[in-house]
Symmetry: D2
Subunit: 327 residues, 4 copies
Amino acid sequence: MKEIKKIGVMTSGGDSPGMNAAIRSVVRTCAFYKIECAGIYRGYEGMIEGDFIDLNARSVKGIINKGGTFLKSARSKAFRTKEGRQAAYNQLKKANIDALVVIGGDGSFTGGLVFNQEFNFPVMGIPGTIDNDIAGTSHTLGYDTTLNTVVDVIDKIRDTASSHNRLFFVEVMGRDVGHIALNAGVGAGAEEILIPEEDLGLERLLESLRRSKESGKSSSIVIVAEGDKTGKNVFELKDYVEEHLPEYEVRVSVLGHMQRGGSPSCFDRVLASRMGVKAVESLLDGKSNLMVGLMNDKITVTPLERAIKGQSKINKELIRVSDIMSV
Amino acid sequence: MKEIKKIGVMTSGGDSPGMNAAIRSVVRTCAFYKIECAGIYRGYEGMIEGDFIDLNARSVKGIINKGGTFLKSARSKAFRTKEGRQAAYNQLKKANIDALVVIGGDGSFTGGLVFNQEFNFPVMGIPGTIDNDIAGTSHTLGYDTTLNTVVDVIDKIRDTASSHNRLFFVEVMGRDVGHIALNAGVGAGAEEILIPEEDLGLERLLESLRRSKESGKSSSIVIVAEGDKTGKNVFELKDYVEEHLPEYEVRVSVLGHMQRGGSPSCFDRVLASRMGVKAVESLLDGKSNLMVGLMNDKITVTPLERAIKGQSKINKELIRVSDIMSV
Amino acid sequence: MKEIKKIGVMTSGGDSPGMNAAIRSVVRTCAFYKIECAGIYRGYEGMIEGDFIDLNARSVKGIINKGGTFLKSARSKAFRTKEGRQAAYNQLKKANIDALVVIGGDGSFTGGLVFNQEFNFPVMGIPGTIDNDIAGTSHTLGYDTTLNTVVDVIDKIRDTASSHNRLFFVEVMGRDVGHIALNAGVGAGAEEILIPEEDLGLERLLESLRRSKESGKSSSIVIVAEGDKTGKNVFELKDYVEEHLPEYEVRVSVLGHMQRGGSPSCFDRVLASRMGVKAVESLLDGKSNLMVGLMNDKITVTPLERAIKGQSKINKELIRVSDIMSV
Amino acid sequence: MKEIKKIGVMTSGGDSPGMNAAIRSVVRTCAFYKIECAGIYRGYEGMIEGDFIDLNARSVKGIINKGGTFLKSARSKAFRTKEGRQAAYNQLKKANIDALVVIGGDGSFTGGLVFNQEFNFPVMGIPGTIDNDIAGTSHTLGYDTTLNTVVDVIDKIRDTASSHNRLFFVEVMGRDVGHIALNAGVGAGAEEILIPEEDLGLERLLESLRRSKESGKSSSIVIVAEGDKTGKNVFELKDYVEEHLPEYEVRVSVLGHMQRGGSPSCFDRVLASRMGVKAVESLLDGKSNLMVGLMNDKITVTPLERAIKGQSKINKELIRVSDIMSV
């Protein structure tokens, strides 16, 4: 196996807080081991175009606390074709890049895996996505920050909700998994949490809201994950509830993209730093096709294949806790 | 004129950060002058129902930094009727309340003015609304806090915008006036700001976005006030721009109710404290039908009538500054 | 064993963010199981005085996001005497309290253990302290919030450090353990971290700072835990460094008590909610003398005795990561 | 008079939030008027060394929300000598810089004024300092942000103060003027505020604290400006109070440098944007030796000489408000 003298690092897919911290860690670990590092702009798209930048330890100062990704991110149709991947490989060779660290979600890892299989090119993955929907890690990069952002915003909304004795439906991100909704819902003291993993039925929602009113609650927050199973979007839910429970005045808030941004939490910065070290050291140890993850507070690795196919499960205990807290 | 021995304080209309700080100030100023103070729950609605609470200096501890209003707020249809106002008057008399401080917007002041005219009841107003749309004060309570909330959120959105080279339309509050949009737009470094006071036309927007692209800007934020004059809502604007400028990938974010909440800024806390003192002292001086305001950094009073009818103008200089900054 | 019909909950020792959320959880879990709950003011001191308050599910609304503890906390000399504990027991009996949830640190748990041994009174502990110095849980309540507070403040200090090319020594809490210093140090991108667990020697610090200068770093932050082993306090360290490295202009910042306060992070709110449920359910299951903890992301219990005597170890991997990041 | 084709911009003295936003505004206004702009690193020190960088509209993207100053700041002994200033002049000439915008405090303005007198070089000042101690402007750049930072930290300290029924002395910046102490003190609900402008005497402080205790306050915050007139520093004050009022357990917190940093508030960003435009336009209009300021919410100019010699007065009304709020 070829000795690794230069590593390329890129961010791919939706941005998440901590990506910059992870890039910094990859770059500095390379510097620590006295190998070179190149940043690849705009994910696989920039790889195909050879849009690279040499990075040294000083290049990444002052970014550990910045949201987004200074290497930028993009989706790439071209990389889904054999020609695109060949072009990307040629660019990497031309730039003497020997191995790759891909920071992103399962789509990005799938790309990396295919690339490895075709060109036998060493690839390590770092899970960067706010959704926490990757198997093989208890926390993806950015997830903890997003939870704090969401509870902070819901705290603000609650100021208005309780000033006016209103019911709010707040839609949070999470198309396939309810991690954000469930955790931020418990953290924000939501009365009810609707997630893709559970179909409690609309009747139960009405029941719960009726009980809230009877128990003397003057205002309520219901968290709705984008992908919840009620079959209604958040505005339709509002109409449904207002029709069936006219005693409620309902407001809707869709949090949207702000959930992705912001300065990463300490947890995400530390996680990013640890993951970057492990990714580079794994490559230097001759490993490939692995994703760095956090399991039981320890940094581990999982085959990329498993990370992609696996399912990140929500914590059922939290559903119980949420029910008890809404008493 | 009757000596004032007990003052009632209430919040009315949409809540805004700083309302609790203003209540605290009214209560403590009453305590300082050794007169009684009663809190009136849920605005005019609670006044009609006699939903009062005696408040002393210690009752309001720990609230200066809390968003919303612990006295709650509500709209009251009943108060628009003569019978409703008579009932409210009876309740005030029964509770020995001699004068009123109303914290709210122009609708609340109109109610107070009518009430004064019918019952010769002393009323002072404190402008509490995030929209800054009241004449007679350069700043309404909560406006400064909302500006900080909005730029903080747009900073987060920009992380994603610049990571993905995207264009975002961000809708902020302001149905009739563009204060929030204009100031937060300049503060957040927005490329274009659409406000109700100006109809720049959609062609100019396209022109500006074309110029942005040419000048090398990789991402852009356009701020849209709720009440802007383009005739299109923010989602229609997105469609319009994507149709005419296919080089742009547009995302929309509607900030919504979170803009009302949160811990007040130092400015709003200080302003609330000053206004509460002035409101109580004005009543004790035998004055009525005035709104406390801030003009040229000094606390002043304006006839409620003028505050209601007047128009709070946006600062045209800021439009120029915004244009220059978008160069 | 006596059936439990009423649980007392108290906070004891230094306050930490999440204590209110834990109280809320204990209270609501009691309500869920239809048993009574009493709050005990000012820890063991209030227990001796019988300073109790009945709490129901609505009593604890709106506190999940508040720092500090509304039940207040205090040290109690009297509780260290047999007479004090007897008085406390009498008060609990008089108030029909059958079991106790103590939210606090190891000192508070020691008190609870002694109390249990003397009076056979059921006691459960919830670890509430920012220092994360309790065995049997990977995270104490408040620790995660404090890390975010600390990195946020150091981010601000770095603005000045890098504007002026200065070296800052920042002292953070942690008398016996370096968890805060180590994690916040990595999170804030500190160049060097001095913790009680390691005596790297002053010469190594100078060496590291010399290397920083040579590698082109223009500004540096060194984190010092209160209890570090250099034998010098943070101001003496400044003098020492300025004497030996005259090329550095050093500033000192002692973060102090602000580290304890603030709205809890989502993580701490969720953890508090889970721990409160487990504490009450354990008591209802007839258990006692246990501390609720988080191990490998799961809620567990540990004998109080072990929690008190055990040692919470820092993560050695993080020291390595910190060294690599400072390259 | 020579036509201005290139403007140099620099930051000097202590950094303050909003400096980056002001640089951005100067640079973009130059771009708007199609003249060149150079950034001067490290204030007068970098001017002497010719440490310049060409800046265009894109160079300053993404900095409006960043604390500190990317042009860095430094004190310069050399610039106090005739030779130093001559060297600086030579560097400016060599770089074809025709005029100067100095962002800083009165020391920086004095340097600019002397420079102008010696070399007839056009100079405009923008007041950037957190202390708000400059005549000719109601607000200096960074002051509003610092107030928010300070009240936010004191809110955190109050969590602990009220959890433990303690008295805190909190020292804030302000060597000669009490603006920060007075405004943040009112904003944070401090019981007493000690500022350089007033010597209330220690006896009054004791009196006020005695009264607090009697009126049932369980915890208190006293704000102390660095330069207060009691003749005791904040630690000596603690000892003094504990000696005379043994019923109080006193803690001290010195906020220190964190007060300078952080993302600027919306107010400071807008102010910076407006000031930068005015500074450049004034130079293009042939003006010099003026400081841009905010008076009565309008952008104005004041002779630098007056800004330096003048005195920024605290608002006596606020002292009254503070007294009333502490009832």
